[in-house]
Chain length 226, copies 2
DNA sequence: CGCCTGTGTTTGGCTCGTCTAACTGTGGGA
DNA sequence: TCCCACAGTTAGACGAGCCAAACACAGGCG
């Protein structure tokens, strides 16, 4: 049942044209999707074969019920995601479009529901004027450094912990041991030993040893390079 | 310069194997990426041609400096996105992987920085025990309806406004006219007139007319179907 | 009625990513 | 030392998705 992403794009585009009150034409689709008419004809053939729309030579392009349902799901996700990226995360419209275009083919319904709950809750907070959201916006407008996992830092280097990407026990263990954003780490060394290497470094004056699992879960902001 | 997504996957996989302390082999890559060895050999050829790694017949697979840099960027985005989807949005690990896998090839650095600012701010709020976050989590754990744009509702139907997906002037206009989440709308009718149709409906006892632009920006929860 | 313009189709050709099946190299153990 | 198991490669094929160029059709206008 899983259609290719591209096929879903064609379906979505047909729906968009219908929504604007026109009947989809090959030329229009070609323009919207940025391909040649020949490519559209070929794609319509495949879509017709799989029963998602009807298209006879020189005839109109009409979605079937199945096709329309699929198209609506894709359209909904697209609008929804691009709205999320623009309004909540502050992406540019263009970038939001790109990301939404790709993601719309990948998320399932339950995921969509979760995401919807998230954005609707944030929108609510916005209307209620939660102070915390202002701080968030402020942060997002200033440039933000990109961290590197500890295991990829150069020998002898150090940095400040940015985040911990781990779940469950490992997360708890690191937490309990004092690893948290903002903490300083220095004098990282990689030596042989375990498969994946052994990483030693200094935190709060203590020497610590990591295996690869821990060392790839702790992300550091690198100090300013000179 | 823009590599295909798949090529970036190969690069990323090589880096992951290196990070775990091994040297990447064709067999290992085939397993990690879920393809046959023949496919890997072909991909390595393309990657070698574009100068991202070095690979001679029966030789080791070694990233070049350019390849390693590219691979790190992809890896960082991947880890970062999947962490975001799991920790912040509560996706399943598997779904988060899928989405991250696709998105990692699509976002650029400035977008990544924005997203990083967002998640880091949320993580901070979490540590500070912001009450508002608890409410958010609560909402996300209960099933959430999926809305439909007004322009796609059936004739005579109605519903409750879920959200407004519009920017700038249109958003302001709708806002000023009283369109907001929670408001009831009934007796939606579509008639011909403008290109795209004219939509009339009832809100707060008033009759309102929409063009297609407005009607596709207002999303409604459909009432329970019987 | 016939012609012209523009819409839609066909043809042939390309790349990427994938496969299966057959082949070739390599390195460790008997 | 030689041989075998397995790692890696090559050959040949396929579908999706794209293109350019040539062709076919349809509808409006003179």
């Amino acid at each position: 049942m899983s259609l290719t992403a591209r096929v879903e794009d064609y379906l979505e585009s047909v729906l968009e044209i219908e929504m604007s009150g026109d009947i989809a034409t090959v030329t229009q689709l070609a323009k919207n999707l940025g391909v040649t008419k020949a490519t559209v004809t070929a794609a319509l053939k495949r879509l017709d074969d799989s029963g998602l729309l009807e298209h006879e030579r020189y005839g109109d392009v009409m979605l079937t019920a199945a096709g329309r349902e699929k198209a609506l799901a894709v359209y909904r996700r697209h609008e929804f995601l691009s709205d999320f990226f623009v309004r909540i995360l502050g992406f540019t419209r263009e970038r939001a479009q790109n990301v939404a275009c790709v993601m719309e083919h990948e998320i399932d319904e339950s995921t969509e529901r979760r995401l919807a709950a998230f954005t609707d809750a944030l929108a609510l907070a916005e209307r209620n004027g939660e102070a915390w959201l202002d701080e968030l916006k402020g942060r997002m407008d200033s440039p933000h450094e990109l961290p590197v996992p500890l295991c990829l830092m150069e020998d002898g280097s150090g940095g400040v912990i940015a985040r911990i990407t781990a779940q469950y026990e490992l997360r708890k263990r690191l937490n309990a041991a004092g690893f948290a954003p903002g903490v300083d780490i220095s004098d990282i060394r990689k030596t042989e030993g375990l498969p994946g290497g052994v990483f030693t470094f200094n935190m709060n004056g203590m020497g610590i040893r990591f295996g690869i699992a821990e060392a790839s879960a702790v992300w550091l902001y690198q100090p300013e390079r000179v």
